[in-house]
Symmetry: C2
């Protein structure tokens, strides 16, 4: 790489003929990139899953300034191989079982290429009619697959939008709910607003609530327990809300979960909605991970009661092969979103918007600009069809069941919380060991470090109600049974080594 040289004059470097987008050059170089990427996927198992680099590794390898003159694609490819790939945690490795998977597919990749290539900025309908209308079509398709009620569909009285993340979905619905209440009680009472979730609700709920100006003292995190599978208890919620109302506070919003991040717990939507409806609260369902499974009839029960809620989101990038970012949000009353989020500057005014005959998605989200988001999901749904997507979910669940069987059959281990989807929460807890919870926690922490430091598999952990446990999330797109078997063997090897040092 060259060094920065700002001491030049306009004619010092002969680049008058600089053409950043020559179609034939793009064709040639993009073909090279396709081969680079296909090879990366082919060889992905050869890299340590969890990166083994140290903080600051890259800064010393790269120059402090951008090059003044162009560098060749070959140099760049070589640096990617030498400096970037070793610093990556390979989420797409078939041996990645940490967090939740970030799923991908050939169709998703093609869809993203196409979306990128158009680079249209669909802030309103006119700026890219196809982008808006395809998103409306795809959101209705997915709503149909989930058997959401018509009240969430454009073909009914609601509608859907693709957001970047669940955080954004929570934020915009929270704002819509907030502004509806504030218009009744006045800004001066905003500090009385209370929002509710369980202690299993994703941390971004608290963050989004703070962003929206909710008083941090008024963000309720209702406790759950192992006995109820860490799901939010309607009675407990009612008690909390009642107390707040008695204290002069205004219950605004309830964030429920279909598949919590720690253990994939599922809240009883119907009963919770009953409580919330009694108090006029907005109910959101965060089904970021678990929602995708509900395209299979055997999981659809988890959405019972969804007809009683106000908004619902799930992230196809987690389980529907769509690549990042893709969080689908459906709302019953798009008008409330638009009321809270619309802008109408002169430079964006146009006849279709003024005629009120179109959707302007800028009024459904935080930002103004937006990509042609729906192409990826459209290609996935069409290229694979519902049948294959259901099959994909079931295949992951089958592998998780298999892993669960391995754990159950080994007396040194235990399943900590019941498996619902394709995540298994387990821990090493040999009966030969004292039941001292600190010792067990430390043993499992060491086991996790041992596994991840081999680079042969990557798991993550959580701690719920004081219980430290390992999370084995099946779902990386390339994972097959052999990888699950190998991971279990690795885990038991680690356990043996660690137990040896203790006994």
């Amino acid at each position: 790489m060259g060094s920065l040289d700002m001491n030049y004059n306009e004619s010092s470097y002969p680049c008058r003929d600089f053409k950043p987008l020559d179609p034939e050059e793009l064709r040639k170089q993009a073909h090279q990139m396709v081969d680079f990427i296909a090879d990366y996927y082919k060889n992905i198992e050869s890299y340590p899953v969890l990166s083994q680099v140290q903080p600051g590794y890259l800064r010393t390898r790269f120059p402090q300034t951008a090059p003044y003159r162009p560098e060749s694609l070959e140099t760049i490819f070589s640096d990617v191989a030498k400096d970037i790939i070793p610093g990556m945690t390979h989420w797409l490795s078939p041996n990645f079982f940490a967090f939740f998977p970030a799923t991908v597919s050939t169709a998703g990749f093609l869809g993203e290429m196409l979306s990128t290539s158009f680079n249209s900025v669909g802030f309103n309908w006119l700026a890219s009619p196809a982008a808006t209308e395809l998103e409306m079509v795809v959101m209705d398709w997915l709503a149909n697959m989930l058997k959401l009620p018509k009240s969430f569909m454009f073909s009914g009285t609601g509608g859907g939008v693709i957001q970047s993340t669940t955080s954004e979905s929570i934020l915009v619905t929270l704002i819509a709910a907030r502004d509806r209440v504030v218009s009744e009680v006045g800004m001066e009472n905003m500090q009385k607003i209370v929002v509710n979730g369980s202690d299993q609700t994703h941390s971004m709920f608290t963050k989004s609530s703070k962003l929206a100006g909710i008083n941090p003292c008024n963000i309720r995190s209702v406790p759950t327990s192992r006995e109820t599978g860490f799901s939010l208890c309607p009675l407990m919620l009612r008690r909390v809300v009642k107390a707040d109302v008695a204290g002069g506070l205004i219950p605004l919003y309830l964030c429920t979960n279909v598949g919590t991040t720690s253990t994939t717990a599922v809240d009883p939507l119907e009963q919770l909605a009953n409580v919330a409806n009694d108090y006029g609260m907005w109910v959101h369902v965060d089904a970021a991970y678990g929602g995708s499974a509900c395209i299979c009839p055997e999981f659809r029960q988890y959405l019972n009661g969804v007809e009683r809620v106000d908004s619902f989101s799930l992230s196809p990038h987690k389980w529907l092969l769509s690549y990042l970012d893709c969080c689908c949000l459906w709302v019953k009353q798009p008008g409330l979103l638009v009321k809270a989020l619309s802008t109408n500057p002169e430079y964006l005014k146009n006849k279709p918007s003024e005629s009120d005959s179109v959707v302007d998605y800028k009024d459904w989200q935080v930002g103004t600009g937006r990509k042609f988001q729906s192409l990826r999901l459209w290609l996935v749904l069409r290229s694979y069809g519902i049948a294959n997507l259901q099959n994909h979910i079931r295949s992951d669940v089958r592998m998780a069941k298999m892993f669960e069987g391995f754990v159950k059959s080994d007396p040194r281990f235990e399943i900590v919380t019941p498996r619902r989807f394709a995540l298994v929460c387990f821990r090493l807890n040999p009966s030969t060991l004292s039941s001292n919870s600190e010792i067990i926690e430390s043993l499992n922490r060491n086991l996790l470090d041992w596994i991840n430091s081999t680079g042969q598999a990557c798991l993550s952990h959580t701690k719920v109600s004081g219980l430290y446990m390992l999370r084995f999330a099946v779902g990386a797109t390339l994972t097959e049974e052999c990888h699950v078997v190998a991971a279990w063997k690795l885990i038991t090897n680690g356990a043996e080594e660690l137990l040896k040092t203790i006994v």
Copy 2:
């Protein structure tokens, strides 16, 4: 496309061997997609620039449900050509002069392909060390190119982050500023907080302020005038802030502009920062469009005073060839962002984060998940070098100057506001016509409709201080002089036709 058939059982469709990511299939199909995209770019001038479809055009063409069984890539390509492309407004057409350009390049395309392919979720350092560290490197590179002070760089005391949009940059800095003040004055005084911008500040500033819970009555929009080129007057600002303070309010945040959306006006940063500093306000510079030009020394003066502000953002997707989304935000005190936005759930805890030796970008943004954002910009900077990027800016400015010359040489037209970058604001205002402003506005509205309906070029409009004007923004990556010449010819043809009907 097939129809939805939910009446099946698990074995009804033989897709046991469904492999969503077979590297060889990806290779084959992605090569096909590359050719499709290169051909799209090659033929882009054959499509009407502004889409000519009617609202609802797509819904009637597509089935109501996703297909149950897979469809072929050939069918999908054919539908893209038949149903999607005609519904697009082609932002990448060389004849697109509306809004601000959304710029692209071969290197940006390759970078996005690579980023997509990795699909790593870099919420914290450990989840993808390379993603975090490359972003830090690239943000320092770009800061260097802009000659930002060390206080904004990781190599100094600050740092940068890639956000999706300017809205997000404003929102997170506003929240950081808000929480700093609230920690001093208490939540009960939040309703006293005031934020300031000019009447030329982008509409998303008001929106972001509302999102953050700022009382809508306390969002100041300080008037500007044609005399001062629609830039924010420091004296006027001081007067407004003084009055607010006298009224017991708390001035929090000032959003300044380097290149406003309507007319690319530039606010005097240094003098405005003086005022804001006197009142302890956070100063943000929104240089979404104009900032990129400041990599050229002849434009760098517009950033004079930037050393006095708290945060600065620009969007390389607007002028630095990077594709959407890419908004670069630098802050002087990353600690304030982190304090306001950090989350620390058990399932994301890890040793590097706890040792405080790394950057966890989830604490610099709204959401948790994030893509490997910096690859695109890294490829652009390295593939082209600073020299070519400066040349690219200058080439656009040269073409805009040329267009400005055309307008000036035609007595029927006038330049409405001085051109600073590559946007020309002009209107038809023949001396033969009455100076009735309504008639002139209606004439120019008709001219805009006439131009856009031809499909041969696309312009947009704005209205500032009651003056309706057309915006001719040069900068679409494929635009060359011949396209500017042709657009001017089209505009004069339209003017002639319209004037004929009047006279």
